[in-house]
């Protein structure tokens, strides 16, 4: 049914990051990168969000929060882990307080590497997430239609459908835009390390 991919709303949560990735997430919304071009709204409210952007690793205290926020989001939804910390725990994974990346707590669909993750990378991550979001939404609609044919759609049926759609993975054929990255032609004098 719905063409949902034009309206991905973000929920950003700062797990245990150093701030570097957070400010880059914010920067990706500012005029230069303007993620709102893709219909992105940085909503603060899990109940209305589609894409969960988590920066930073997971520690003992924020684990519950991350889990709860994820549970509060209505299906279909996508989780994007932004930054090395969110991917693996990064530089802090060996400390006593960090459990690891976001995938220690909730299923992660897209990993955005970088320390800090660049705005471009974050946009790419979102773009991949959007695609998955659309696929999950389509699948959800299909399953509901099917379920309707088979009888009443109860809350349990819905729960089962939602569990199923969350299994869908990112289609590997969807390429994020090639990031060959041109070199800026500004005077640099080269690197001299």
């Amino acid at each position: 049914m719905g063409n949902v991919k034009k309206s991905p709303w973000l929920l950003h949560y700062d797990g245990s990051s150093c701030n570097g990735c957070d400010i880059e997430v914010l920067a990706s919304l500012t005029p230069i990168y303007d993620a709102e071009r893709f219909g992105v709204i940085n909503t603060g409210d899990p109940l209305q969000a589609d894409i969960f952007l988590v920066t930073g690793g997971i520690n003992h205290q924020c684990q519950g929060v991350v889990k709860q926020l994820y549970d509060q989001m209505p299906n279909p939804k996508v989780v994007v882990a932004v930054g090395i910390c969110a991917c693996t725990g990064g530089i802090f994974k060996e400390t006593y307080n960090i459990l690891g990346g976001v995938d220690t707590t909730i299923p992660v669909d897209v990993y955005v590497p970088g320390c800090a993750a660049r705005p471009q990378a974050i946009i790419d991550g979102i773009v991949k997430g959007i695609d998955l979001f659309q696929r999950r939404s389509d699948e959800r609609d299909r399953l509901i239609k099917e379920a309707k044919k088979n009888g009443k759609v109860t809350d349990e049926v819905m729960a089962e459908i939602d569990a199923r759609i969350n299994q869908i993975k990112v289609d590997p054929s969807v390429k994020a835009p090639e990031d060959a990255g041109k070199i800026k032609e500004i005077p640099t004098g080269g690197s001299e390390e």
């Binding site: 071009r37 994974k93 990378a121 790419d124 773009v127 835009p177 990255g181 800026k184 080269g190 390390e193």
Partner: protein, 168 residues
């Protein structure tokens, strides 16, 4: 009080000006991004230069690198690398390079492995064998020389006992 003068809708003129000027938004991802040359995007390896010494992997702060000498591989987990550039600094062969262009986001945290080409490995093995042989030869020669020297010394001792010390 050091408050400056008050004006209403101070920013309105700025907003209007903005409205009629071009947006600063880049067209990424339609067009590729532009990075300055020094931009620390990702680590590249000129694998054939690598000697599998392992210095990089030992110095990598998050432990994103694994180096295997026997297989001749150099493995990086790009989802673990913080692009600090310390490995680049440490590498004795200067075969690592920090280049612009970040690692693209992926649905899984795959590692990337580089293998030193068989040819070079073979070459190296050969070189090593050669070197070993050379060393052996050298050792043999040295031993020979030593023996010769010793004999000479012994001879000399007989002739000039005060000169013997440095060779011992």
């Amino acid at each position: 009080m050091s408050y400056k003068k008050t004006s209403f809708l101070e920013f309105a003129s700025e907003s209007m000006k903005n409205l009629f000027s071009k947006p600063v938004t880049t067209t990424y991802p339609l067009e590729p991004a532009v990075y300055p040359e020094r931009s620390r995007g990702h680590v590249e390896i000129d694998i054939d230069q690598c000697i599998s010494c392992g210095l990089c992997s030992r110095s990598c702060p998050p432990g994103a690198l694994t180096v295997s000498m026997p297989n001749g591989t150099w493995t990086i987990n790009r989802f673990d690398c913080i692009q600090c550039g310390y490995c680049v600094e440490k590498c004795p062969k200067k075969c690592l390079k920090m280049v612009p262009g970040y690692q693209t986001p992926e649905p899984s945290k795959a590692e990337e492995t580089f293998k030193i080409s068989e040819e070079i490995l073979k070459q190296r093995a050969e070189a090593k064998a050669k070197a070993m042989e050379l060393a052996k030869q050298k050792a043999a020669e040295a031993a020979k020389a030593k023996a010769a020297a010793a004999a000479k010394a012994a001879e000399a001792e007989k002739t000039a006992p005060a000169e013997a010390k440095p060779e011992a």
